[in-house]
Symmetry: C2
Subunit: 258 residues, 2 copies
């Protein structure tokens, strides 16, 4: 942990990317017993109170973009492990840093999210893409926005398993099936979908004002010809999903700062 008094004068001598190193270390210390409190503490250490986390990627049925607010971030990370992952870390290669008045941006075009899966057999999944992080430039140096655009992924299996089952086409076929979609488990994907649906209904039911409710539906009608739940689950394409998710986020931020 950072000494606060010392930190105030020399915030971080090291690069902001060091925070990702620290995050990796923290993720290493997770155990089977790490509960919601543990994940809340994790998120509090690395994310601002009004932080957002965005994941963009392409599935078979088109581009997706999920943005979740601060309260949903702890659970996002925990779903990764609940989906069967035993290890998670991020490798940033050739990242670029830019300093602004109150923030630092780390732009890494060669980011790899590495997850290790124990079942049904040892698998390492390398999910590659561009990670853009915006940090608040103070002594806590926490993340304001996390945006990971997944480009490709690779599932790696031990060569030894190949050697063992080279004679068995059935086992080989089973072994050749991916266990993730774009590097994400179904557990995490479902969570992201749920987040967006929940957010939609939250904002819809939060207001009893029929005019605002009507505006939500009108906004939807403008951007999509599909039924509401299709937009909500994020499969409505890049820009539409973006609109639906970002609008309420901005409202949240205002409330938080007010």
């Amino acid at each position: 942990m950072l000494d606060r008094d010392e930190g105030r004068h020399t915030p971080y001598m090291v690069q902001p990317e060091y925070r990702i190193y620290e995050m990796n270390k923290r993720l290493q210390s997770r155990t089977e017993d790490s509960d919601n409190l543990w994940w809340d503490a994790f998120a509090t250490e690395f994310f601002e109170d009004d932080a957002t986390l965005t994941l963009s990627f392409c599935l078979e049925d088109g581009p997706k973009r999920y943005t979740i607010g601060r309260t949903l971030i702890p659970r996002y990370f925990s779903t990764v492990f609940e989906g069967g992952v035993t290890d998670l870390y991020y490798i940033l290669k050739h990242s670029k840093e830019s300093y602004h008045n109150s923030s630092i941006t780390v732009d890494c075009d060669q980011c790899t999210m590495v997850t290790q899966h124990g079942k049904p057999m040892f698998t390492k999944v390398c999910t590659e893409g561009r990670l853009i992080l915006e940090f608040t430039f103070d002594d806590l140096m926490r993340i304001k926005t996390w945006h990971f655009t997944i480009r490709q992924y690779r599932e790696l299996v031990p060569r030894s398993i190949l050697a063992m089952h080279a004679q068995d086409p059935q086992v080989l076929e089973q072994l050749s099936k991916n266990i993730t979609r774009m590097g994400l488990t179904n557990f995490t994907l479902n969570y992201l979908r749920l987040c967006v649906i929940a957010l939609f209904f939250f904002h819809l039911t939060c207001t009893t004002n029929p005019e605002i409710q009507h505006r939500y539906f009108k906004a939807h009608a403008r951007t999509s010809q599909q039924p509401p739940q299709v937009v909500c689950d994020g499969s409505g394409g890049h820009h539409r999903a973006h609109k639906w998710v970002h609008k309420p986020e901005r409202q949240n931020q205002k409330q938080g700062k007010g």
Copy 2:
């Protein structure tokens, strides 16, 4: 790079393990053009002038232990890449630090050396073992001794290749063959062997004193019944190889400090 004046007062606020993170970053910045000068600068940044690097592992024919001195360390790292590796980094998990008067020891029982190979196909090799590092406790915080004891290794191949060749037993057999021995390429293994042979002959020819030469051979005779070159290439077992290598190293250190 560390600001020297500032560094003198607050050497490293962060853990010494952070030096391995910095080493990983430096290794990332290697290119095809990185020449001997680049590797010398690399070693100078991370290793003390009298540093030693030791690798212990078991091959089919028994336990090996290679210790190389500071002058041979740059080339050791470069051989890794010359052997076909495109990426090299170290992941330390649950490492323990202990502070002494003038040094810090990092003992990591769950260290993974990760190498990425591009040929004959994409392969990730995870070499796991115990890494014990001794750092000098000053503002440079460089490594005095590096000792990596390899426990096991795992070669990982893309699942997609499996899917492509599931019907072809010949290709599968080819794919199931390891490209390293205990995670090390033949390039690196040969270099380690050469180092030890060279060191033996160096110390043998450095002295024209037949008595000292005789002592070398006598020491050999005491510890081995095998011909000299067998001991030199490190296959003479754990303790014997240790004896042969460490003795001259100590001489080197004395000369360096005198």
